[in-house]
């Protein structure tokens, strides 16, 4: 209980933190809006016969026990709570009520977000990640400076590859000269690597130059179509600027926080930073790289690369009692671009297809092969292959152990 009180005290005393609460609420509201109008929505998935489990869960049949009515109700509670939270944060000083509303919205929103793996996205991941840090971790201004820096670095490291540096992603949006795309890509990676470091510096010259560069960078990203994520980052940048101004005001007034209230602990900030950094780097360590369960867990705190120049091909056959029939992979429409070639999602798409086809006369199973090709490297990788994909015993954890011609007696 004291943890909640300490967090509420922090939020209550600072206008900048109330502003941050409104920004995080706004980001959740954008997610709710996208679910309301889009096809990639829990409201729609609740009405489908199968759920797509998150990689960390071995089963998610519980999701199907909930009727669409329950999901609808959870969604509308989420919407109402988040709208009220934004209004309370912005227009009242009732930080306790606002935090309670944001808690309610976040719990319902996060429940819906985790309801189906197809809903995962960078914007969703960061919104809920930042919200829970905001609500739970003390010393919030300090935490957000470092967490924001860590998030920028995570995205920047995703850009340090040929897929991004070729400028392909930028030229798809700008249609300019090739060299321009290449230089802009390099410049943007450098901005994400260097500019956030200045946010940790108290010297105004460094702080404000870095801040302005990042604001301009996000304005450009919004112009190029990456709206939600950039708006979220811009909101947090404005919060950091407000917090810095607040800090300077306190300094001028010679009021020490420790005099009013004990200095909040920074222990949790460092814990989260270490876990976050470890998740980003886990794929570089040999043992962790080959541990599917750990990779699934680390994947929860790892953003998707936004610029993979990757093509994926899949081929499926419906196997009937008297023959085989070529078929096409289920559509990935409405899904985040970075997840079109996601092997686990594609695997689960096919498991869902098994459920759809199981009552068709003579249907036995699905045979499938799925591979992706890294265009720049010219290499392709077969992610999974099976001549009996509908076999109950064949799960994603068996991928790699099961070949096309293997009978699944796992």
């Amino acid at each position: 209980m004291s943890l909640f009180q300490a967090n509420l005290w922090e939020i209550n005393k600072s206008f900048s933190l109330r502003f941050l609460g409104a920004i995080l609420g706004l980001s959740q509201a954008v997610i709710a809006y996208q679910w309301l109008i889009g096809t990639n929505s829990p409201l729609r998935f609740a009405r489908q016969s199968t759920a797509v489990c998150w990689p960390v869960l071995s089963t998610c049949s519980w999701a199907k026990l909930l009727s669409p009515g329950i999901i609808d109700a959870a969604f509308w509670i989420f919407v109402v709570a988040v709208v009220l939270a934004i209004l309370t944060f912005l227009f009242t000083r009732a930080a306790g009520v606002a935090a309670f509303l944001l808690w309610t919205a976040s719990i319902f929103g996060f429940f819906l977000y985790t309801y189906d793996f197809r809903l995962s996205s960078n914007a969703g991941f960061l919104t809920f990640f930042f919200t829970f840090i905001y609500l739970l971790v003390p010393s919030k201004v300090f935490s957000f400076r470092f967490i924001l820096f860590a998030a920028y670095l995570a995205f920047a490291f995703q850009k340090l590859n040929a897929d991004w540096l070729s400028g392909y992603w930028i030229l798809e949006r700008l249609h300019g000269p090739e060299k321009l795309g290449e230089w802009l890509a390099a410049l943007m990676a450098l901005i994400e690597l260097i500019a956030p470091a200045t946010l940790l510096i108290k010297d105004g010259r460094y702080f404000w130059s870095g801040w302005l560069i990042l604001i301009a960078y996000h304005a450009t990203m919004i112009w190029m179509g990456m709206t939600h994520l950039s708006l979220l980052f811009m909101g947090i940048l404005i919060f950091i600027a407000l917090a810095d101004l607040e800090d300077r005001k306190l300094e001028r007034e010679y009021i020490y926080q420790s005099f009013i209230h004990p200095e909040p602990s920074r222990f949790w900030t460092f814990c989260i930073l270490v876990i976050f950094a470890f998740c980003q780097l886990s794929s570089h360590f040999l043992w962790f790289r080959h541990n599917t369960s750990f990779q699934s867990l680390a994947g929860l705190l790892t953003p998707y690369p936004i610029s993979l120049v990757e093509e994926c091909h899949g081929k499926i056959w419906q196997v009937y009692e008297n023959g085989w029939k070529e078929s096409s992979f289920p559509d990935a429409e409405g899904r985040d671009n970075s997840m079109r070639c996601h092997p686990y999602l594609r695997f689960l798409d096919l498991k869902a297809e098994c459920q759809v086809l199981k009552d068709k006369p003579g249907f036995k199973t699905l045979a499938a092969i799925f591979e992706s090709e890294k265009l720049f490297e010219g290499t392709s990788h077969v992610h999974f292959q099976s001549a009996d994909l509908c076999n109950q015993q064949y799960q994603f954890s068996d991928v790699g152990r099961v070949k096309w011609n293997t009978k699944h007696g796992l």
């Binding site: 920047a156 340090l160 590859n161 040929a162 540096l165 070729s166 400028g167 392909y168 030229l171 090739e178 060299k179 795309g181 290449e182 390099a186 990676a189 450098l190 690597l193 260097i194 470091a197 200045t198 510096i201 108290k202 010297d203 105004g204 460094y206 800090d247 306190l250 300094e251 926080q257 120049v309 091909h313 081929k315 056959w317 419906q318 009937y320 008297n322 023959g323 085989w324 029939k325 070529e326 078929s327 096409s328 045979a367 092969i369 591979e371 090709e373 265009l375 720049f376 490297e377 010219g378 290499t379 392709s380 077969v382 292959q385 001549a387 070949k403 096309w404 011609n405």
Partner: protein
């Protein structure tokens, strides 16, 4: 918090500079050549052709039930070089009797046509692109449904695999013993000619991209030949192709080392088995070809779009030996009649036309009043007794014309005078040439009810054996 110290210490500035330098180093390490979009694309294109890999990978493919793939099955069934003739070594009875018909039971969608026939088996396809494999007793062994990503262009068959070759250059092989896909290779190049099997390799002509395929930039060819391992689908290499304006056809020259490729008005002779397919000779006719070439006795017979028959001399690099106008437009391929220097064909109007190529004139014609759709004929040798009985010349060795005739019949004619030798009754109209299995003809027929069936025609000896066997089984 040390609010007093807002000015940055020199060592923090140095750390920031080192950090920025590290970031720039990382950036340059990841993109040392500062690849541009254009470089990326060319890298992609180059590596893609090197990385052509079949699905599934060879290590994961199923074992084939038949160990040996064997040679390419000849199609059309009756003979090499589109001769439409049964073996010259075998003489036949004129009397064939329908022993039984075996209905083909399957849910066909739309019009059905024959994909390929082999020995006693038949592969059919319907408008949905589904392939049906029936054995000689009309039992459906398996089906294979193709998606509509690209139109099926050609089918090849050997003793273990059925090769489905699509317009977009994708090859899918099916294990004929169980109907399971064995491998698939997407070449990402449109097909540009008729593929063939050679030793352990599938030769696949695809559209050439001269800037990539030709080392000499000046030499621009319209096609490239991809060599693919028949057993695993592994891409083995590329050879320079040929310069035709349109996709080409090809036919092996019987009893020769040559293969003739043709498209539009052009014909090119290349070695049958080679690595570089360098043309031996080439020739161009005054107008475009229509239909298939027939190659026999050192001559190539070709019909053009304006129904002109050309005979080209194989020994003289394809020089035109003679040409004549055909009065009746061919409705199907030509059939060469050995020993008597005659060509026969069925016209679009179901008239059987025989051309004397020695005298370079029309010999005789006869309206066969065919009710069915088949416009193909074949030639076979009759036994000596019939040569005597029907007053045929011994020098012609009993070669006769076998053709669909009237309603639900095959007829045998003497090619010399058009004399009717025999009528063979069927239960339906034949829709493709028969396959010949020892002394048995297996014919795909369309029954009056509209269904399809396999009709077994037996010569008297075979018929007696089959009836006796059936009686024993009944007991």
């Amino acid at each position: 918090m040390e609010y007093e110290a807002r000015t940055l210490k020199w060592y923090w500035v140095a750390a920031l500079i080192f950090y920025a330098a590290g970031c720039i180093y990382l950036l340059l390490r990841e993109n040392p050549l500062l690849y541009s979009q254009g470089t990326l694309k060319s890298e992609q294109m180059q590596k893609k052709s090197e990385a052509l890999l079949p699905w599934p990978p060879p290590s994961s493919q199923f074992e084939l039930e038949k160990k040996s793939l064997g040679p390419q099955e000849s199609w059309p069934y009756l003979g090499e070089g589109h001769l439409n003739m049964t073996s010259p070594e075998v003489t036949r009875n004129k009397t064939y009797t329908e022993f039984k018909t075996y209905p083909l039971k399957a849910e066909f969608h739309g019009k059905v046509h024959v994909l390929i026939q082999s020995d006693q088996n038949v592969y059919l396809t319907d408008e949905d692109g589904k392939i049906y494999f029936f054995d000689s007793l009309g039992t459906l062994q398996w089906t294979y449904g193709m998606d509509d990503s690209s139109e099926l262009e050609q089918v090849l068959l050997d003793q273990a695999l059925l090769y489905l070759i699509r317009k977009n250059g994708t090859v899918t092989t099916i294990d004929i013993s169980n109907g399971r896909p064995h491998w698939e290779l997407n070449t990402d190049r449109p097909l540009f000619g008729e593929a063939w099997l050679e030793n352990d390799t599938l030769i696949l002509p695809v559209k050439a991209f001269p800037e990539k395929d030709s080392k000499k930039k000046s030499k621009k060819l319209s096609s490239t030949l991809l060599k693919i391992d028949r057993r695993t689908g592994v891409y083995q290499g590329t050879s320079e192709g040929f310069d035709f304006n349109e996709a080409f056809h090809q036919v092996k020259v019987p009893h020769s080392d040559l293969r003739i490729l043709y498209s539009g008005a052009d014909l090119v002779a290349v070695p049958k088995v080679t690595d570089d397919w360098k043309p031996v000779w080439s020739t161009t006719l005054p107008e475009n070809l229509s239909g298939e070439l027939v190659i026999a006795d050192g001559q190539i017979f070709a019909v053009t779009e304006s129904n002109h028959l050309y005979a080209l001399n194989l020994k003289k690099k394809g020089d035109v030996a003679f040409d004549i106008d055909l009065d009746i437009p061919p409705g199907g391929p030509l059939t060469y009649l050995p020993e008597m220097d005659r060509i026969a064909y069925l016209g679009k109007n179901a008239t059987l036309r025989v051309v004397d190529i020695k005298k370079k004139q029309m010999a005789w014609k006869f309206d066969l009043s065919i009710k069915g759709s088949l416009r193909e004929i074949w030639t076979a040798r009759l036994k000596g007794a019939y040569i005597q009985e029907f007053g045929m010349r011994w020098v012609y060795k009993g070669w006769t014309i076998w053709s669909p005739c009237r309603e639900q019949h095959f007829c045998i004619y003497n090619p010399e005078r058009g004399q009717l030798i025999q009528r063979i009754a069927l239960s339906g109209d034949p829709i493709s040439l028969p396959t010949v299995y020892e002394d048995r003809l297996i014919v795909l027929v369309k029954m009056p009810s509209g269904g399809l069936a396999l009709s077994h025609l037996l010569d008297p000896g075979e018929l007696r054996k089959a009836q006796a066997k059936e009686a024993t089984e009944t007991k």
